[in-house]
């Protein structure tokens, strides 16, 4: 858009609600989705239309708030030094308080931008994905995916997709999730960040296991939660360590010269890391869990069990990005220790290559994208590890857009395939297997073109797509600083382009391989509209970050992103010197990978013909099996044998079994030796017997004869009289 248009939009957005301060708006951004969650859970659960209106309305409000804040943030000079902040006391801790607060510096502003767009698009997409407006299924159960409804039309019966039975619940959960993400993004301290982190972890569990009737979904949810939990524990340790050393968790207070210097200087006593390094490492382990880096990557492919909007949102655009965001945010701390940075770089680069190789052999359309996500996150982490701050931020944002686009596109494809399955009536065909697809280009054109744009962006197709600019910048930085990382990332980029083209070729190009693919057709506007919006962003966003010294195009647009984001750090990072090698490399790997992928796969029609279906690749290098054998089965064995059998049943129950008979023995003893003979017989029966006996013996006095009574009275009278006379009256 022209600069006048930009200025007008900026003016409108920033003056909109001009009577409300920016800080207030920032506080309010996370709230509409949370409110939506409560409203849907408490009130609108039964009404599908109302639920999605509440949810989408909330996402719209948050989007609006984010856009206003973004527009205002753009207008502030040197936002990095004077960010919008606001905080308040929350929990009293003896003398001090834990605070909650918001912070909008350039990084946060950009995060708000892409998070709000992707969240809104995914919310809208979910309406169509869950088949709103369709009839209820024939035998749909809550907890299982919908199976289709039979309707009569023109005298013929045919099966149509049915609406999801747990429709409102889905929107409630993604509302809660959006709340968590926004909280994490706007927070100004590690505590609130961690709170948002954990909320998203919970929602990830709830949403992966959304179709809880399927055992695979349940297991995947537990796996996701457990694996990320491992990371979270270390992260919490890091936070606690940081708090104990510095006494604060607020970013602005930690990233001061003196604090950072102190942290760098104090050795932590572990493996030569400084305190800063150890804290950074611990926090990084949290990211390894949340952003699915090796070795905690195992949960993300299984998380594809959830509905596709979930995969798009959580595992492409937002939640996994939260891990990278944390590393970016803590970059000033991490960069103090060279050892930590090398650990980060190594894990990032290794994961990038590792996941890319696995993606080559996957047949499920979503699995390919899952491994692709892991790989791309590796790119970002590696970039941070070598110090390429701006490049990592850039790639984070572009990746969010094109990965969300790809996932939503895959969901659209799956919907189309399922539609075909309803027509044929065959339920054994897997609608997600790429080898059952083919030729969908003509059947689902909008999906095809948007998916193509996304795929090209992922591969780094030159100039046009945003992915090219961000990936190229990473490669350039890597070439300048760390050659092994550069080589690894270049190979991974090549593989990325290759498997992406494989995916596109098998899914869209060629001829339909099954009847279902032949009968597929385009999905409704609620699903294709978000695809279109995201593809625009996937292309357009790249142009804000064109390096200044790029041949021809560089200098035409200022490298706004570099200026803007670079201010977040205390020292502005330098732009890398232009070098032809990384540029050439990225061109070669992108175009070469795409071309090779197309040529190899345009004639492959089944998995038997696919030469890359190698065992160890298909089975993900057997990492899951190794974890099962090394960690999970021993833990189960330990829980069963040691804790349950020996400690609980043997020891504790044994003690109780001692108590039981012991108490019983005591009870019996008391009963037999005290209660029965003494209380019952001696006291109880005894007193009764004494009374009876004495009564029996004494009653003979009562003869009924008054003369005897008179005599008794007289005797007693005489006795008493004698006593009185002799002892009292004459004494």
């Amino acid at each position: 858009m022209s600069s006048e248009q930009a200025a007008t939009l900026y003016f409108l957005l920033s003056s909109f609600g001009g009577f409300v301060s920016t800080e207030t708006i920032i506080w309010l951004i996370p709230l509409p989705p949370a409110l939506a969650f409560f409203l849907i859970v408490l009130f609108t659960n039964r009404n599908k239309a109302l639920s999605h209106m509440v949810a989408v309305g909330a996402a719209l409000l948050s989007w609006l708030g984010s856009m206003i804040v973004f527009a205002r943030a753009l207008g502030v000079e040197h936002l990095g030094e004077r960010p919008f902040t606001s905080s308040m006391n929350w929990l009293a801790m003896g003398d001090t308080w834990f605070r909650v607060g918001v912070l909008v510096d350039p990084l946060t502003a950009l995060m708000l931008f892409f998070v709000s767009w992707t969240v809104l698009m995914i919310f809208i997409y979910s309406i169509g994905y869950h088949n709103f407006g369709q009839p209820e299924g024939d035998h749909d159960h809550k907890g299982l995916p919908p199976h289709g409804a039979t309707i009569e039309e023109h005298g013929r019966k045919h099966v149509v997709p049915s609406v999801e039975p747990m429709y409102s619940r889905f929107f409630a959960f993604i509302g809660l999730f959006a709340f968590g993400m926004f909280t994490l993004v706007v927070s100004d301290n590690l505590l609130t960040l961690f709170i948002g982190w954990e909320i998203m972890g919970l929602c990830s569990y709830l949403l992966i296991g959304f179709w809880y009737g399927k055992k695979s979904a349940r297991d995947a949810a537990v796996k996701a939660f457990m694996t990320t939990r491992i990371g979270d524990v270390f992260m919490l340790l890091g936070i606690a360590y940081l708090y104990s050393v510095t006494g604060t968790l607020s970013f602005r207070e930690i990233f001061t010269e003196t604090t950072l210097h102190t942290l760098q200087m104090i050795p932590s006593g572990a493996l030569g890391f400084s305190t800063a390094g150890l804290i950074g490492l611990l926090l990084f382990i949290g990211t390894v869990g949340k952003s699915a880096q090796f070795p905690l990557h195992v949960w993300l492919p299984d998380a594809m069990e959830g509905p596709t909007p979930v995969s798009a949102m959580i595992h492409a655009a937002t939640m996994v990005s939260a891990g990278v965001y944390t590393v970016i945010r803590m970059f000033p701390l991490l960069s103090l220790d060279a050892q930590t940075m090398s650990v980060v770089a190594f894990i990032g680069a290794f994961t990038a290559l590792f996941a890319a190789t696995i993606a080559l052999a996957q047949n499920d359309i979503k699995r390919v994208l899952a491994y692709s996500t892991i790989s791309q996150l590796g790119f970002m982490i590696a970039a941070l590890g070598i110090g390429a701050y701006v490049a990592a931020v850039f790639h984070l944002i572009t990746h969010a857009f094109f990965k969300a686009l790809l996932f939503l596109g895959s969901g659209s494809v799956i919907h189309g395939m399922e539609h075909g399955a309803y027509h044929t009536g065959d339920h054994k065909v897997d609608p997600q297997d790429m080898f059952n697809m083919g030729g969908l280009k003509n059947k689902m054109p909008i999906t095809f073109w948007t998916f193509l744009i996304g795929g090209f962006a992922l591969s780094g197709f030159p100039i046009v797509t945003a992915g090219f600019w961000s990936k190229d910048e990473i490669l350039a930085d890597a070439f300048a600083h760390n050659l092994p990382v550069f080589i690894t990332l270049a190979i991974a980029a090549f593989l990325t382009a290759f498997y992406t083209m494989r995916q596109i070729t098998l899914t869209f190009l060629g001829e339909p391989r099954t009847e279902e693919a032949r009968r597929a057709h385009e999905t409704p506007w609620t699903m294709t509209f978000p695809l279109l919006v995201l593809s625009v962003l996937a292309i357009g966003y790249g142009w804000v970050g064109i390096p200044e010294n790029f041949p021809i195009l560089g200098g035409l647009f200022p490298n706004w992103l570099h200026e803007f984001v670079g201010e977040t750090l205390a020292e502005r990072p330098e732009a890398v010197e232009f070098n032809f090698v990384p540029l050439l490399t990225s061109l070669v790997v992108a175009l070469g990978g795409l071309g090779l992928g197309y040529l190899t796969y345009r004639n492959v029609n089944s998995s038997a013909e696919d030469k890359l279906q190698l065992g160890f690749l298909k089975n993900k290098y057997y990492v899951d099996e190794i974890y099962n054998a090394v960690f999970i089965n021993p833990a189960i064995w330990f829980a069963d044998k040691v804790v349950y059998q020996i400690m609980d049943k043997g020891f504790i129950d044994g003690i109780l079994h001692l108590f039981g008979p012991g108490t019983q023995g005591i009870g019996d003893g008391i009963r037999n030796y005290f209660d029965l003979p003494f209380i019952n017989r001696f006291l109880g029966d005894g007193s009764a017997n004494v009374t009876y006996f004495s009564g029996e013996k004494l009653r003979v006095i009562q003869t009924g004869r008054i003369q005897q009574y008179l005599m008794f009275a007289l005797i007693l009278f005489l006795v008493i009289g004698a006593i009185l006379y002799f002892f009292i009256f004459s004494a």
Partner: protein, 102 residues
């Protein structure tokens, strides 16, 4: 000049005889006879004490009059009871009227 003690001994003896009669006689009416003797001995005692004390204090005789009245009333009621018991139980032997025994 009869000493007072003679009257008192006399009344004591009369009382004891009456007591013996009340305790040892079989017939109900005879028991009442014994009681009458005891009351008479009391009267003798009272009058003796009046005479041998301040004669102008007529309290002794008043008391005796009252005892007369009480004795008469008691005999009347008592004999009515005996007659009633006789009608019911057809006996006047004290030992046979033992319904209130254990």
């Amino acid at each position: 000049m009869v000493p007072l003690s003679w009257y008192l001994i006399f009344s004591a003896a009369l009382f004891s005889i009456g007591l013996f009669g009340a305790l040892s006689r079989r017939n109900l009416v005879a028991i009442l006879l014994g009681i009458e003797l005891m009351l008479n001995s009391v009267n003798v005692n009272l009058v003796a004490f009046w005479r041998y004390g301040d004669v102008t204090n007529i309290t002794g005789q008043v008391f005796t009059i009252i005892v007369f009245a009480v004795a008469a009333a008691e005999v009347a009621v008592g004999l009515a009871l005996v007659i009633s018991v006789y009608r019911k139980r057809n006996t006047v032997i004290a030992d046979e009227i033992d319904m209130l025994k254990f």
